[in-house]
Symmetry: C2
Amino acid sequence: MTSDGTVGKALEVLDQVAAYGRPVRFSEVLAASPFPKPTLYRFLQTLTNQRMLAYDPDRQTYSPGVRLVRLAHAAWEQSTLAPIARPHIDALSAAVGETVHLAQLDHAQVLYIDKRNANNPVQMFSQAGKVGPAYCTGVGKVMLAFSDPAIIEAVIEQQSFHRFTAATLTTPAALRAELSAIRANGYGFDREEHEPGIICVAMPIVSDAGRVLGALSVTSTTSRTNLAGLESYVPILQDTASKIARDAQSWSFPDYDAKEQTGR
Amino acid sequence: MTSDGTVGKALEVLDQVAAYGRPVRFSEVLAASPFPKPTLYRFLQTLTNQRMLAYDPDRQTYSPGVRLVRLAHAAWEQSTLAPIARPHIDALSAAVGETVHLAQLDHAQVLYIDKRNANNPVQMFSQAGKVGPAYCTGVGKVMLAFSDPAIIEAVIEQQSFHRFTAATLTTPAALRAELSAIRANGYGFDREEHEPGIICVAMPIVSDAGRVLGALSVTSTTSRTNLAGLESYVPILQDTASKIARDAQSWSFPDYDAKEQTGR
DNA sequence: AACCTAGTTTCATATAATGAAACCAAGGTG
DNA sequence: CACCTTGGTTTCATTATATGAAACTAGGTT
């Protein structure tokens, strides 16, 4: 499952370095790596030559390289909902005057694809590209809820439930119950499950064929409003989601959660 | 020079696919690829399994995958000037009320890292991650001007000068003259060299050690102002650039244009 | 000077990549 | 309907490449 030859291993190393969130030394990576010293060394060297990693000779540290930013630009424009959703999200943001998120499901994790912040100007990658857990975010739960049962089970299986706040759902049973409630409702909430004081309404974006393309959410704080207040945004969210789905339809769209092509 | 074993070749394929700017079929890639059919096929398959590419089974097309967006988030935060520059750019943007760009030099090309648009909200990757030619943009020219002479020559060497507008510099000689004028001045302009009606002032961000870290620019249109008008922003640009350089200094920083580590 | 520790290089071996050729599946086209 | 053609996929013997144990080197420490 975890191995596509040399290339797969190299990308595994790349992921590992990126996961630190800060420049790392060779020995740190080595300690956490399944690869022996010279193998890892050569991978890091190759990735650096390829500018997938950047190497700081003074501090002797590696960090993700700029080439990724360039490639991601292409990915974001071609392979995400963002360009299609943009006008609709702009309209939504203007109408509700709260923070709006657009997310997709990537490999059992929530990947934020775009964001609108009514007040201060948008902070670019600082939000887009960010990942979060699926089981304790509004967008994560609604996307999961409308996913294929097999996928749901797979995600629950491999999920390690971490308690972020008092309200975090921390058992498979609790999550399953929540998901079926969401399915019944058509949308979901984040009830301070990830961060205290932060609440949101989330709406899935589903294609005609019933496939989950992504999700939208409107986020606010308990000091400004409450769940009932957020619920009033449901109609406009629904409207926005269906417009995005419609546009995506005509554009046609890659299948992200396609299973491995064959696996040799 | 162009080969780091299998991984390098796979990344070459990834770049190629990303370069199309649209989903591509296998045969299209094959036609433009140095690799024989089965080899290319396996690379695409591997990259798809790794979610570096997304495959649309209906249209049988490949496009850059979402995993890149995730990785790029880390790269943007750790390996670019953007997080350090953010507050300064915010201030600059508020002060001048025009579009502000932050760019770095990546492999002889201009890579836009961040953007502030006074009026409409920021469009995320739609600008960050975008690349442009160095010889006919304000930021490109100022970064080049203060780069190592060897790098300048290398860039000029491999540059294919395309005429975008009547004002585009299209010969090595013209560019060399412009660069030394910029060195004398400390900053540079884009005189509608890339797009008619679009002009800008650009300021390099240089470290104490004299290394070019990136560049800033304020962009406007000929209908709103002229070069003299833009020149009035030079003091604040200079101030912003030096503040960013100072902050970068203390943070310390990877060396992007480091030459290949050894090359086996 | 002896002794770590972190990073780099060697080299025989095992493994994985390679690509010519064959194969398969759709669409044509006569 | 039989016969191509085009575009994509699989096989498999060959070759090139990755691998990792061990040896080595350069800075720091004691």
